[in-house]
Symmetry: D2
Subunit: 147 residues, 4 copies
């Protein structure tokens, strides 16, 4: 399988993940082909991303403050089927920081340490009232850079 | 199959439905057993119920006013498997009106007019601020009784 | 709140659960009312039920053998809203054993030990080839009675 | 908003869609932010893609024959929030044909003809028995080229 364009060197890309979220496959997430439906990958990405942001103290800012985050784009590359009963580790990392957005990368491994999916997506900070994209405040920028 | 306790006479119960909502099965709603996952029945009930309430002009009251509705309980009896590609008709009716709640009944038929599921659930009106159950206002009661 | 008809004495009913499954709420399981969508309760029931059956060694029989199980009916009583971030314990028990079916009960508690939902449903053993309901084999009956 | 890399010229790209599938938003597909959860975009893509393949007579080949299709990758660009009650038109087209795969593009518009999402993904033909990617048979290739 070709390496996705958002991954320069797979080895170093993979080693760069330090946060992993454990996710159990729900039976209702399988489909009639017998495996986890491909749309569910993005549910796992979201779950791990939110827990990662909580662990960094970022979510509190967005829940309470005048700004929140929205998803600009999302993508997933499928390498191996996930079955009911699989115990997944979903890695999340901030791959790059823009003026008003961050690029978040994802790595999903099963209990045998086999890579099932990789992915990425852009998260944009917007003003709650207007929906306009908004530059990171200095404090937030510091938290993102330390992540 | 035994008739559920909420249905006295199946023939007249079935004839009493006049509102039906058309629902297309999504592939992601199937599971590894090859049919629509049993938890999805309640998604279809909800969809048809909300559209029914909209058609009666009830939803506007709850979206704008000081009261809203919550689900007290829900149940479903499964009679026939639903497959991807099935075109469903989901019937909804108000079976009885209480002081602060209504009992809503459901009937799901496929494109061959075969009954796939029946169900019911209690919907309770509550005050948005406190969550306390609240008697129907006279105007709403009139709308419910005409339904 | 009135006690559901499937619970005779709430105290002893609740004490009778010995198997609990831990479930984390996914953000995608919330809805626009701000809490977990009511249809998701049945996803949690299913997840805990399957894990319970695995822990009893029952699932292997149904995956490999000539018989499988289907859901006859399902119901849920809602007592308290579940929010994103809640860590749930979902209790499952076999409440009674019939000739071809079992009645399974459910209890959902949050991290503060507050009861969020109770429920029940009938699981029926059927022949895979014909779909006909089938009496429990002696070995299975023994496993169910010990559960 | 920047044009995604898979779209050369937005005007001509958009005009090139001739198949559209109507999709109604389910209430359970919203999340606590008040709009349709971003993971649901891929459910809509899948639904429209499968219906498109059925309309072309392709699905029958994959359901009955020795080959089937799997998702290689998927991506979505979000341009506008989707709300409960929105009536969506989901466009699907085959953007390019490879030796063993096709590139499928997506366009989601609401009832006001506003563009909500665009997307693409690679679909790969594999042998059911081995999972190995498999060149398109001549007959299928003809059907894909006419699409």
């Amino acid at each position: 399988m070709a390496t996705p364009v958002y991954i320069e060197n797979f080895e170093s890309w993979q080693e760069d993940f330090s946060y992993f979220d454990s996710i159990s496959v729900r039976f209702s997430e399988t489909d009639a082909f017998g495996h986890v439906n491909n749309t569910v990958a993005f549910i796992y990405f979201e779950q791990a991303r939110i827990n990662y942001f909580y662990s960094l103290g970022l979510m509190d800012e967005w829940v309470k403050g005048p700004y929140m985050i929205v998803t600009g784009d999302l993508q997933c590359d499928y390498r191996r089927q996930v079955a009911f009963g699989d115990k997944l580790q979903v890695g999340v990392k901030i791959a790059s920081i823009g003026r008003t957005s961050i690029d978040v990368h994802y790595l999903v491994k099963n209990q045998k340490n086999q890579i099932c999916m990789t992915g990425r997506g852009r998260i944009v900070q917007v003003e709650k009232k207007t929906g306009a994209s908004t530059p990171w405040q200095n404090e937030l920028l510091g938290m993102l850079e330390k992540a």
